[in-house]
């Protein structure tokens, strides 16, 4: 007992020794589903592309919007599951930036002749790419399908809200404002390409 009392501080200091610090965020306490939701909301690259896809669908009308609202989350989920089960180590930052840059440029151009199915297909490609990346990232940290469902549900809700806000716009200046937003997304994409080449992206 005397020995323990004498060496109390020694034991106390040793108790504080860190092991390898696999540091990460403090647990959000929200659970895996809402962690997935937050992941998407805090990922500007994912959000910009999602926003651009929803804006494009909204500009092209109700049918394109309906298709996009279904196709993009479905592709995100499908390829997210692929990523979870067969994770890839590829990061593909260039392709990720290219995807939202193209969508932003299309919003800015507002191509009247772009078929509705093509809008949904582009949104689906974007969803597939980011689903695969998200799924792989989730697999790497040991997160499961519930987190992926959180991401996909947020994709669905955001796409639905944005597209349904854009579809009824009829006044010219409102549609122009949407196209300006698309040009900003494309401009961010161009700058990001530069940052990636420089190695700061």
């Amino acid at each position: 007992m005397n020995y323990l009392r004498k060496n109390f501080w020694l034991f106390a200091v040793f108790a504080l020794l860190p092991t390898v610090a696999h540091a990460h965020l403090v647990n959000s306490g929200l659970g895996p589903f809402y962690d997935g939701t937050l992941h998407l909301l805090l990922s500007p690259g994912d959000l910009l592309g999602l926003l651009a896809a929803a804006l494009l669908a909204g500009l092209r009308g109700p049918r394109a919007s309906r298709l996009t609202v279904i196709v993009m989350p479905a592709a995100w989920l499908l390829f997210g599951l692929v990523g979870l089960n067969m994770p890839t180590s590829l990061q593909l930052p260039g392709l990720s930036v290219l995807s939202f840059m193209v969508l932003g440029a299309l919003v800015a151009l507002d191509p009247k002749h772009l078929p509705e199915w093509a809008v949904a297909a582009l949104a689906g490609l974007f969803g597939a790419l980011h689903g695969l990346l998200n799924g792989s990232a989730l697999a790497a940290i040991g997160a499961g399908t519930v987190s992926l469902l959180g991401i996909v549900t947020t994709v669905f809700v955001l796409t639905l809200i944005v597209a349904s806000l854009i579809v009824p716009l009829r006044r010219a200046w409102m549609r122009i404002a949407v196209r300006v937003a698309g040009s900003w997304v494309a401009a961010v994409g161009m700058l990001m390409f530069g940052w990636l080449v420089r190695g700061a992206g």
Binding site: L10, P44, R179
Partner: protein
């Protein structure tokens, strides 16, 4: 070295143990992977375009000129400028030099100010290349100044949004064009922009 009793031995051992323990408390490999610099990056990008008067007057002048030209230039010019500015920024980032950047920026204010002053009406096919040409210089100079540790994407986002809002300010001011007295005010604003551009040009050349 001899010790008189076991107490001295314990004291030495205890001191050594504390020293070793403190050394071992130093952090080991931190496999941290959180993203960082988000808020700083966005705010830095947002504030950068409004931190230089040369940048501000040129971008507001784009909005003013667009408002004078009317549809569709009123929105095409503010779309063309950020996109070409981003392209200029990309050129700077990948290491393609652009000669006379500061002169180009100052000239942009001189030319755009003169166009607003003269209420010069040209076709869209000519106004867009004029604005796009000058936007390259602004992007090359200002789009690449990311501070250490800040998030590049959010910096870019803030930079583009801020630039767009400056154009929007110019367009809103340009709504004065509806009234005769407002047109005079706009031409006065063009004069100010041009004079400011001449000052920056003199600085760039001296």
């Amino acid at each position: 070295m001899k010790y008189k009793d076991s107490t001295s031995y314990y004291q030495l051992f205890f001191a050594c143990a504390i020293a070793v323990s403190i050394a071992m408390l130093l952090p080991q490999v931190a496999l941290a992977h959180i993203e960082s610099g988000e808020a700083g990056g966005f705010l830095s990008g947002l504030s950068h375009p409004v931190s230089g008067l040369d940048h501000i007057i040129a971008m507001v002048a784009v909005g003013l000129w667009g408002a004078q030209l009317g549809m569709p230039a009123i929105w095409v010019l503010p779309v063309a400028f950020p996109m070409m500015m981003a392209f200029g920024g990309m050129l700077g980032l990948i290491g393609i030099p652009l000669p006379g950047v500061e002169v180009g920026i100052a000239l942009s204010a001189v030319v755009l100010g003169a166009l607003v002053l003269g209420e010069v009406r040209v076709s869209l096919a000519l106004s867009v290349p004029i604005v796009a040409f000058f936007a390259l210089f602004h992007g090359h100079a200002h789009g690449t100044e990311l501070q250490e540790g800040q998030n590049a994407m959010l910096y870019s986002l803030g930079f583009v949004i801020s630039t767009g809002l400056l154009h929007a300010s110019g367009i809103v001011i340009g709504l004065l064009h509806r009234w005769q007295s407002g047109r005079i005010v706009l031409r006065g604003a063009g004069t100010l922009v041009m004079v400011g551009g001449l000052y920056f040009l003199w600085q760039a050349l001296s």
